[in-house]
Symmetry: D2
Subunit: 359 residues, 4 copies
Amino acid sequence: MAGNTYGQLFRITTFGESHGRAIGLILDGCPAGLQIDEAFVQEELARRRPGQSKIVTQRKEADKVEFLSGVFEGATTGTPISMVIYNADARSKDYSHIANKFRPSHADFTYHAKWGRRDYRGGGRSSARETAARVAGGAIAKLLLRQYGIDIKAYVTQVGHLKLDKSYQELNLQLTESNPVRCPDPEMAGQMEAYIKEVRKAGDTVGGVVSAVITGCPPGLGEPAFDKLHADLAKAMLSINACKGFEYGSGFDGVSMRGSEHNDVFRTEGDRIVTDTNHSGGVQGGISNGMDIYFRLAFKPVATIVPAQDSVNEAGEKVTVEGKGRHDPCVVPRAVPIVEAMAALTLADHLLRQRTARV
Amino acid sequence: MAGNTYGQLFRITTFGESHGRAIGLILDGCPAGLQIDEAFVQEELARRRPGQSKIVTQRKEADKVEFLSGVFEGATTGTPISMVIYNADARSKDYSHIANKFRPSHADFTYHAKWGRRDYRGGGRSSARETAARVAGGAIAKLLLRQYGIDIKAYVTQVGHLKLDKSYQELNLQLTESNPVRCPDPEMAGQMEAYIKEVRKAGDTVGGVVSAVITGCPPGLGEPAFDKLHADLAKAMLSINACKGFEYGSGFDGVSMRGSEHNDVFRTEGDRIVTDTNHSGGVQGGISNGMDIYFRLAFKPVATIVPAQDSVNEAGEKVTVEGKGRHDPCVVPRAVPIVEAMAALTLADHLLRQRTARV
Amino acid sequence: MAGNTYGQLFRITTFGESHGRAIGLILDGCPAGLQIDEAFVQEELARRRPGQSKIVTQRKEADKVEFLSGVFEGATTGTPISMVIYNADARSKDYSHIANKFRPSHADFTYHAKWGRRDYRGGGRSSARETAARVAGGAIAKLLLRQYGIDIKAYVTQVGHLKLDKSYQELNLQLTESNPVRCPDPEMAGQMEAYIKEVRKAGDTVGGVVSAVITGCPPGLGEPAFDKLHADLAKAMLSINACKGFEYGSGFDGVSMRGSEHNDVFRTEGDRIVTDTNHSGGVQGGISNGMDIYFRLAFKPVATIVPAQDSVNEAGEKVTVEGKGRHDPCVVPRAVPIVEAMAALTLADHLLRQRTARV
Amino acid sequence: MAGNTYGQLFRITTFGESHGRAIGLILDGCPAGLQIDEAFVQEELARRRPGQSKIVTQRKEADKVEFLSGVFEGATTGTPISMVIYNADARSKDYSHIANKFRPSHADFTYHAKWGRRDYRGGGRSSARETAARVAGGAIAKLLLRQYGIDIKAYVTQVGHLKLDKSYQELNLQLTESNPVRCPDPEMAGQMEAYIKEVRKAGDTVGGVVSAVITGCPPGLGEPAFDKLHADLAKAMLSINACKGFEYGSGFDGVSMRGSEHNDVFRTEGDRIVTDTNHSGGVQGGISNGMDIYFRLAFKPVATIVPAQDSVNEAGEKVTVEGKGRHDPCVVPRAVPIVEAMAALTLADHLLRQRTARV
């Protein structure tokens, strides 16, 4: 069944395989009258694109986006916005050697089990290349959110064992883009970069953590029961390739706290109602309370490694798999813009949904 | 906008407030011909119901479910199944003292911010009472999954600082229901129970962790891109009241591993393709691979506590809030059947979706 | 797959079988703060209920609706509104004689073909009894639309060969409820009533036409491409039992017109843009233009008749079927409130959707 | 809100404006393993394309479709299929004269009312050019249906006052494509063609009727309550530009029949259960019964005419509008493949939905 759509009112449907002709999306439900800054969309794609630094995959893709519809005289018209990114550096021959093999911890086996066939070139649709479409759609969402003063910032807080133990308030998030790791602490960023290079030299990969904070979100976004704001964020984040965990607010650490210390006491600040502590992470009962929304995401090490690994092929025979394709030694630097995009899409959707809450 | 529906093909819509007339659900999309064991549905509800032990809320609810439609001569007909549970012990007067106050870390403020009004009695729709409807629907999902040999078991692995550091393979999950905490390690269960009682005596609350494992899931369930099996599980779990985090497979611990140790190598076992390790947690590329699916959930301490707390009311004035309503000192024992229900609903939905994968 | 839900943002899901325990619905997405006039909901149900006159089925149902959730202190809270109507006069024994027979032109055979089983009592879910739930939900929609000055009026314009050849402008629609046929022309109503009685006496049934007009609809409701306002109206209407056709505006008669006579020329009237003619039927390009929306619906003769008919049973054997159950000799008088309800649900949904059209 | 998607499981989302860069679609949910005959898709587009004969618009578009994803080694992979058709002959200057004018009976005014702006070039998204995307998606649906022996044939039965009063059984539908009108009666086709030419010469337009029949549909397709097979067909058809009415089976003529003559009596034919008459039009209770499904559609005269017409502009000032753009004098010949496409999409969707009906 169709599973390539995200969002209810602000809704993207993505398409495309890693080494197919193109990837892209339709964004349906974007309100009319939004000025589209195409250069901004392209900049966001540049943050995700391969080859941007020495610690990411060296596949060469300009990721030039073309708008096919929905924008007229510089602004959205209310009709579907289609964007396409043609694949340039699709070296399909790179992958012929694994055409009928199942690479360990990749989606080769599960795609085959589901559909009885698959586009094996570069992982086909299971490749993180699909996320470029999300970043393009997310950029439009960001432009909408900007009008409401909502800002989203993601950044790297862990690479392998190297963990940055600071809250977002203790960091200068303006520094995130100052280094290829996208860690806002320059010293830690240097260590992380050195470590990623060491891992890459060993032909290996390593995992990491991306943290994120949403500021300026008004109270009232999110729905009761199932479509809680943080539940939708969780789904959005876990839908990103290699993501293995999500926690918001006090998260897993909060379980050992008592209610009396965990509760966020309300007080008035001017005409706003605020809390001093924010263990709730900006969401209570599934609905935003106006405080900062923050969360953390676990990313596993990339499955593609250079050393030979045992596996099986479609016939169930034992085979050896070697990592010849280009790949990232650590996914988190490039995950940062993707996390922001998925958060932006989620917020934009709930922003529109909120408009129907009252008579 | 409507946010009270979960699932695409096996779809529940729940209704009801904590102290309203009734709670219930419509389950639409359940295949015809499923034998309905009403006693089993009632047993599942008994596992969630208040008053079942001394460490849970003492609200008195039999939670007797009535089937209103969709079942004929003991089996489903393919038409919507409606179930209703009338509220019995709805002491609305208990709540009049907080009618216009915002209890700290409850949904009072956010509901008010969203809709400009709310049913304040016992938290209205934000109460975990709504989850009884999920358990009823989840019981039907379990009956369907049983036919496919799919089994779901949740259990408590942490209460406050008391953490059970054993994997599901090291535990006897048959023991989960042998104690009121629902921890499958009887010794640890005893400590946890004592701790919960101590916390309750102090008028306080504490958080915990629920772990879960799904066995017997065939390969091929889940969709690419957004509707990944684990992404839907994440949303399902985070939609449960008080849940703050989700991780599956290697989760947050996996981030410090290298690809060479994290990868799950395939081999053949009889006519099945399996892996020795299972850091993937039974899901690769968003689709089940036939191995066990396991995950962990963080639950925060319940917000209702006995000691007086500062807060504000609807007018923004400073007020004091005291916890008079009945409540759970720790949510995890009763969360166990809810976690299972949401997992069952997710699996049942993807089981049906998988039927359309091939020509 | 689940097919018992109508609407995107203002969304009802109905349940129930003709002779089951109850029928009912969940309305999700109704904005908060709508005053609920329960007496009005009950009046609407009275217009649809059996036994209201001598020309409709004599089944005895008070159709007393109970609100189970979503309404607090007389107004909606934004949470799901559940309503239930318990079946009173469910004479299941009436139907045992057709338990395994397929009544001609009923849904017995197709339900059996689809699901391999069915609740055969009174047609089970295929009975028009299900539409009581629609009328209850539609009444809430009407209350919402009333706030926007939108009014919907349906009425009977044909029974068998007796056709009322007048446009809605030539009729006094206040007279619709003055007679049991619900035809706003009293003389024609008398003829129709006599004819229905004659048909009933013969143990037979006859079809008819319901016309409807929506006034006060603002410009801008409806979506391009698939969710055109009139396309959603068409689906809504064809989903009513026994409905065989839908036309709006100039409809089938318009096909023989030329563009030069069919086009509706715009002009200004105060600060409104209006048209003199209205062949468009108030909708252009799928979106309302502010003029009256009008349409006509064909209803076939009810399939249940008294004389014996040949048919087959589940085993494919030849059998005889006799109409013992209570039934309507002509469906259109009771279809009037159902048509209004489905139109109201459609308009309410598009009213909310329109709120997200612009930045 | 997003309204550019059709279908639940076999789901298309279209994009594009008449004079934008491209039109196209994403088809999500097509089962894996379907052989894709690209030449067939192109042939279907050729049946809809402008310039194919002297009685249709002379806009020059090859309507060459490009597959961007979802097809690998000649077959579908289960991932989204994206198709794009770049606009070639987009003479935007043709439309500058109506940039701020509202053409009578076009969507100019309603689009403006809804979004406060619009792409006025050639009607933008309201142009029937969007239907090329539907035909491309419908062609894939046809390929799927072909595997199940389901065939759909649409044809013209009325142009203006010229009406072909024959049922589909009395016609040789192989002749439909033998003439530019797509009327299967060659003599009537000749008269219709002459009439269309006469109307065009007068700078005018005329309406018509398209009839259609679906053969080979198995029993069991369609859902109860709202998603009745014929209700979805009605929506699909009314979503086609200029369509004003839909009737199936006995339709509007059936209203004057009595139940005793309208009922379709069941009998056995080999191991199938069939009916002799088919007033039901192949659908009973919203679900297919295995007999032919047939329906008729009213199309209004095209709004674009050559003679000057009065109208107003965005400022509400009186203006004159002249039809300079290329347009069809009668829409029905080109509507035939569109009707088939929408029927095919509807059937394919319900075919997949039916797979989840039973345990």
